[in-house]
């Protein structure tokens, strides 16, 4: 332990006097401290709370869909009376409402839940601490980023209230459907523009911070892997999002100003010729969308890999196997993620040369992914493993991400994509990446860094119940999807495929999957209790309860000082994961130990 005396902080308690004691800066008003804060830690917490609420909300949308899939046409139980006649009269869901739920579940989980939690919350809170920076490079930009995200979220939520409800054209918003759908689609575009702006502001900030504000001795190769993943993620956000922002504006023009960027001539909708100038291309949107949305997949997964790496090093008590190789793989992965986007579009009529190129790049990108995953698996060899709650979540990430990655192979090869494209198989594939993959890793991160933000530890028993419940239920939901997809069952079907004979053999999985979905909600109850109870009643711990090596644990208090993070600016003398060094005094050697 490096810090003997612990200031008695009660984080997140509305008592300003206590949190600011021994602090020579002038006291901030409630508004400047908690709402319009420029402190990266407070902004990180704001991002975290908002994103967790959106995750819960997006999960709720999915539960409504799962109810409908399990029992098409049956009234929604308990809360059915809440819905209007335009969405679910008498609690019975209408197809237009189902399509709203589908589009908004995807949008909310990706853009308002997982990315803000992985990057906005964890990145903001942890990166400056890990590199020994007093704050982010541009604190006001950081605040602007959060508030832009917040406005985007409000717009997305408000879209449920406009006439004919929220967006219905899927989270991919493909025109011409998105161009001719109702007003919710306009709200979706406006919301997206705010969310993209938020990510761009964040990306610029992270890049500058990591390049400029590293402590003395913190060379790139000594940077913890988590910070590396945030570094690469920021490049992806910075370079991939502008095309979608531009495309979003163009689609907005199509909807509001009667342009035809994505509309060809001669369309006939419901028997009427669509009077537009025409000459546009629906495929242009798909290219612009996936040019973002494929790197976006890595934005979802890289921070999760970073979190898992930190936790595995800490709980195996040994260095990460081939850390340099993993860093190079990560950089390569970042580059490659820009040249695989059209593998989402094999079925649009792609010829041999273009599909050949994208199949080759897709197979190439699987190599660094396999290296990183293998490196983490090999790290376990020779370990002295502690099965703490964060470690359980981090360990589960490995096979779950593995399954998600492997099932990407038949989708990334054009001929095998034919039977699987737009079926439940792809839904299973990307949910394995994002739900039992990334979301489990994000939970791992919450359990792991909670003591840093609050000075208290979360309850281990509740944590383990939460882990096993989530792990089992997620597999119960997503694994049957592979069989449904193999049988040819399409995604996005309001009745879950009940109209199709060929799906007969696999739609009886739907009620089972839905039951697991509701149990998954139940499994989050111990987490919610644990999360709030531990703020007051959790076991008080020192600054470095996990006996970790990286700066956020070894050079700061828990929580770190409100201004400037560090009592004295740390200097760095070694790599990030010097655990069980032969001949050392303890089994961990902090990065800032001379």
């Amino acid at each position: 332990m490096t810090n003997e005396t612990e200031p008695d902080f009660h984080a997140m308690e509305g008592n300003e006097g206590e949190a600011a004691h021994e602090d020579h800066h002038h006291e901030l008003s409630f508004w400047r401290k908690y709402i319009f804060s420029t402190d990266h830690k407070m902004i990180g917490l704001q991002y975290g709370f908002t994103a967790l609420l959106f995750l819960l909300f997006g999960f709720g949308l999915m539960l409504l869909m799962r109810w409908q899939l399990a029992s098409p046409g049956e009234p929604i139980p308990f809360i059915g009376w809440l819905f209007s006649d335009e969405t679910a009269p008498g609690g019975i869901m209408l197809p237009e409402f189902y399509n709203q739920l589908g589009a908004m579940h995807g949008t909310i989980m990706v853009f308002l839940g997982v990315v803000p939690l992985a990057v906005g919350a964890f990145g903001n809170y942890i990166v400056p601490l890990q590199i020994g920076a007093p704050d982010m490079a541009f604190p006001k930009l950081n605040m602007a980023s959060y508030w832009s995200y917040f406005v985007g979220g409000v717009v997305m939520l408000a879209s449920f209230l406009v006439p004919a409800g929220a967006a219905k054209a899927g989270w991919t918003s493909y025109p011409p459907l998105a161009d001719i759908e109702t007003m919710g689609q306009t709200m979706w575009l406006i919301g997206m523009i705010f969310l993209i702006t938020s990510s761009l502001l964040g990306a610029v900030n992270f890049l500058t911070t990591i390049i400029q504000l590293r402590a003395e001795g913190m060379t790139y190769m000594r940077m913890p892997f988590f910070t590396w993943t945030q570094f690469i993620t920021s490049f992806l956000l910075l370079l991939a999002f502008p095309p979608l922002e531009a495309a979003g504006v163009l689609q907005l023009f199509d909807r509001l100003l009667d342009t035809s960027f994505f509309l060809p001539s001669g369309l006939v909708v419901s028997g009427e010729v669509l009077e537009v100038s025409g000459g546009g291309s629906p495929l242009l949107w798909q290219h612009l969308f996936w040019f973002l949305a494929h790197p976006e997949v890595y934005v979802l997964i890289l921070p999760a890999m970073g979190i898992v790496t930190e936790i595995i090093a800490n709980n195996t008590r040994k260095p990460i196997w081939g850390l340099k190789l993993l860093i190079y793989s990560l950089i390569f992965l970042g580059f490659m993620s820009f040249v695989v986007w059209a593998h989402h579009m094999f079925i649009t009529g792609m010829g041999t040369s273009l599909s050949g190129f994208f199949q080759v790049t897709t197979m190439i990108i699987s190599v660094p992914s396999v290296i990183i995953l293998s490196g983490l698996f090999l790290t376990l060899w020779g370990a002295s493993m502690r099965f703490t709650t964060p470690m359980l979540f981090a360990l589960a990430f490995l096979p779950m991400f593995g399954l998600g990655g492997l099932t990407g192979l038949p989708l990334g090869l054009a001929p095998t994509d034919i039977p699987l494209h737009d079926t439940m198989y792809i839904i299973g594939h990307f949910h394995y990446i994002v739900a039992p993959g990334t979301i489990l890793a994000l939970f791992a991160g919450i359990y792991y860094w909670y003591p840093k933000a609050t000075g208290r530890q979360m309850n281990e028993t509740l944590g383990k119940i939460h882990f096993w419940g989530s792990f089992i239920c997620m597999n119960g939901i997503f694994f049957p999807m592979f069989f449904q997809g193999m049988a040819g069952l399409s995604r996005r079907l309001y009745d879950g495929g009940a109209s199709y004979e060929f799906a007969e053999g696999v739609i009886h999985y739907n009620p089972i999957m839905s039951a697991f979905a509701f149990l998954l909600l139940l499994a989050q109850v111990p987490f919610m209790i644990n999360f709030f109870m531990s703020m007051k009643k959790g076991k008080k711990v020192g600054s470095n309860p996990w006996e970790a090596t990286t700066l956020e644990w070894t050079a700061t208090t828990s929580p770190p000082l409100a201004h400037g993070n560090f009592e004295e600016t740390p200097s760095v003398y070694r790599g990030p994961y010097e655990y069980s060094v032969p001949g050392a005094d303890s089994d961990f050697t902090p990065q800032n130990q001379p």
Binding site: G102, V268, S281, W381, P399
Partner: protein, 253 residues
Amino acid sequence: MREFLDISHLLGMPEAASAHAADIDYMMALVHWLMLILFIGWGAYFLYVLYRFRASKNPVASYEGAKGTYSKIQEVAVVVVESVLLVGFAFPIWGLLKNEFPVANTTFEVHVIAEQFTWNIHYPGPDGIFGPLDPYLVNTATNPIGLVMSDSTAMDDIVMIDELHLPLDRPVTLSLSSKDVIHSFGVPQLRVKQDIIPGLIIPIWFTPTLAGEYEIACAQLCGIGHYKMKGYVTVEPMEDVDAWLEDMASGAF
């Protein structure tokens, strides 16, 4: 060997009904073998290390960690297998489907015009020439595809809704187009799926090899009726298709 490796039916793929399906299924089986071997291999390793290297059994961690070249061998093996899948299977199958269209007079050609939420099937009739279309002539009740009836080539054309009859064991070319939004022409048993992009006419070809009636399922979200945008493909001997077309011609116009 191929029979042993082809586990596509165990994966739950529907019965195959087209000539190219066997190649796709075999490739699907091989990809899943690769996945299975990697998952089971790493899975077994994973369970073993969780047991062997727990803190109570192994209180002091090793600073050096894993040695050996196993992972390099695995990397190389994955690259080799993926290359074989690409060069040996993916490229030739895609080339066959995209570049080797049957010559015009040996193939049976039909136009499919998708709309929210039906499949309009357009046959050329006895003259073998498809009549021209004009979007301004579309009438949902009487002329769903906007056929220019004044044109002499259009008079004998046959337009069906949600009903596509195709000959057995003969190459078929479908020209796919859409009136409104993106749809996707998917028939699981035929191993056929093609997005239909408004503004483009996209040709696909295949050879049905198993008689029967199969469902056409729209595979791309196209609006509120997407879930019930269903049609039927009937695969039957050429004589039956001709007889059916004759029936339809006398009744249709």
